[in-house]
Amino acid sequence: MGDTTQAGEEQKQISQKMPKATRDAYGETLLELGRKRSDIVALDADLSCSTKTGKFAKEFPDRFFNIGIAEQDMVGTAAGLALAGKVPFASTFAVFETGRAWDQIRLVVCYSNTNVKLVATHGGITVGEDGASHQALEDIALMRALPNMTVIVPADAAETVSVINAVADYKGPVYVRLGRAKVPYVVPDDYQFTLGKAFVFHIGKDANIVAAGIMVDMAKKAAEILSREGIDTGVINMSTIKPLDEETLLRVAESSKLIVTAEEHSIVGGLGGAVCEFVSENCPVTVKRIGTLDTFGCSGDPDALLALHGLTTGNIVDTIKAFFKK
């Protein structure tokens, strides 16, 4: 794998642009890809306005297939398109994409190893007011359990652009989890995503936060606070959750007294689970998992929901401080 640190330890220029939803970046990147490559096709299940595949649909109606409210059929159709040599991007909300069509993903995407890109939006609790039925908090666990599947959770709009371009070139099943809400930019402007490689902002001597998605921004803020208070805290953007960047994780585990995982997902089976599985077998170190507990979400303002579930900078800070006070 070589050196897994992509940008070294120094802080690089990070875009000062206004926060942007990862789904918006997806819609634009898919359209760009469509202009460059005739083998790119897109599918949706009646949510193209929300998932932003609508942009692609408008310019390439012949290469866009709205399957209606039928996620199982959408996934099967995507597999067929892949078997005919196309590179299908199939999108809907994360709950429906991974849950409603799980057996289809298992059989005709993963087991058949077809070149299907499942790009789901509205992952996590920040779906907000729609409530628990629409808040995917188990999707990463569901996808991670499937052989042949690659699972990616970009941290911001810039990383999403890079991820979508990378998965278009990669041959095999991929699940990309995007969000509904606008998120601040966190990766450096010159960052290029490499599949299976974590981005290391800094490795801390005391604690390290391994984060994904919207939690990377909070992890960075938490690390700043903690480092000012004398707890040297690192931040790793583990955007590829499967395959896990084991080399980087081992390096992190070896240099930490504590790893905190942070994700907008259940603490069961997601990034936290993946990190625990690897670390416990290879370099046991205490891991604290921050995510939603074994529970469903509820309606509410996204920020209020994040606070309710402890998905905050403050909770990361408190978790790490509590460990070092012992």
Binding site: V41, R63, Q72, D73, L81, A84, L107
Partner: protein, 280 residues
């Protein structure tokens, strides 16, 4: 090159004798493996033989040949039927059939496209083949590739909701390169289909979903060939052939016996069955 082209075999006698060989191969495989699905492999045999040997173009030496017609066995438990046909067509040596369901065999209990070239997509979890067939057809259409897609489903399989999602999609996108077959043997594991979960009126359901529907006796080779021709001529909508079949067809003591859905013949049953098929 063993390219088998469309219309290669139209002789009813010849197709009938191929179907006999296929049935014997199926029984041989199942007896050898000691497990597998007898009833539904035998019921769909005549339709599958007609599709492969009278209609489809394919090249066993180049299973990924772009111009090939595609076949999806959506009722994946009829894998023995598909394997017997593929061996007959020359995809692999006949001896491989001895390894049905054995460890590390390309002949998995249900078809696996990663283990056996010539299988288009893995099946086994019911109700999924038609969606994949649609996707293939849409992809080929974009490339202006006129290849056709055949997809065999079980009648019990159509209890799966996804089948009807796919039925809508095929009609919505006017996929006329697709010919689906419902192997209407009227039995499923727990008993008669109409008792477990009624699916009638089968013809009217498919018609209501926008399909061209053809009813045939699924063991009458002439009727099957006529239906396949009609499907090919039908433009602007997908075609489904509702094949009235007999589960376990060809072996009197398996016919219409629900208990032979997922049970392999014993050695004695095999010997008796082969005699019956040869005399039939």
């Amino acid at each position: 090159m063993s390219v088998i082209t469309k219309g290669k075999i139209t002789d009813i006698q010849e197709l009938t004798s191929i179907a006999k060989r296929i049935r014997i191969k199926i029984l041989h495989m199942l007896t050898q493996s000691g497990s597998g699905h007898t009833g539904g492999s035998l019921s769909a045999a005549d339709v599958a033989v007609a599709i492969y040997f009278s209609k489809m173009k394919f090249n066993p030496d180049n299973p990924k040949w772009e111009e090939r017609d595609r076949f999806i066995m959506s009722k994946g438990h009829a894998a023995p039927l598909l394997y017997a046909i593929m061996a007959e067509a020359g995809y692999f040596p006949g001896e491989t059939l001895d390894y049905l369901r054995k460890i590390e065999s390309p002949l998995q209990g249900h078809p696996c496209c990663k283990k056996l070239p010539g299988i288009e997509v893995s099946t086994g979890s019911l109700g999924q083949g038609l969606s994949v067939a649609n996707g293939m057809a849409l992809g080929l259409r974009l490339d202006k590739n006129p290849a056709r897609i055949f997809c065999i489903m079980g009648d019990g399989e159509t209890q799966e909701g996804q089948v009807w999602e796919a039925a809508m999609t095929a009609a919505h996108y006017k996929i006329d390169t697709l010919c689906a077959v419902v192997d209407n043997n009227e039995l499923q594991i727990d008993g008669p289909v109409e008792e477990v979960m009624g699916i009638e009126p089968v013809h009217d359901k498919w018609a209501a979903f926008g399909w061209h529907v053809i009813d045939v006796d699924g063991h009458d080779m002439e009727e099957i060939l006529r239906a396949l021709d009609e499907a090919e001529r039908t433009k602007g909508k997908p075609t489904v052939i509702i094949a009235k079949t007999t589960k376990g067809k060809g072996v009197s003591f398996f016919e219409d016996k629900v208990e032979y859905h997922g049970v392999a013949p014993s050695r004695e049953e095999f010997d008796k069955a082969v005699k019956e098929i040869n005399n039939g």
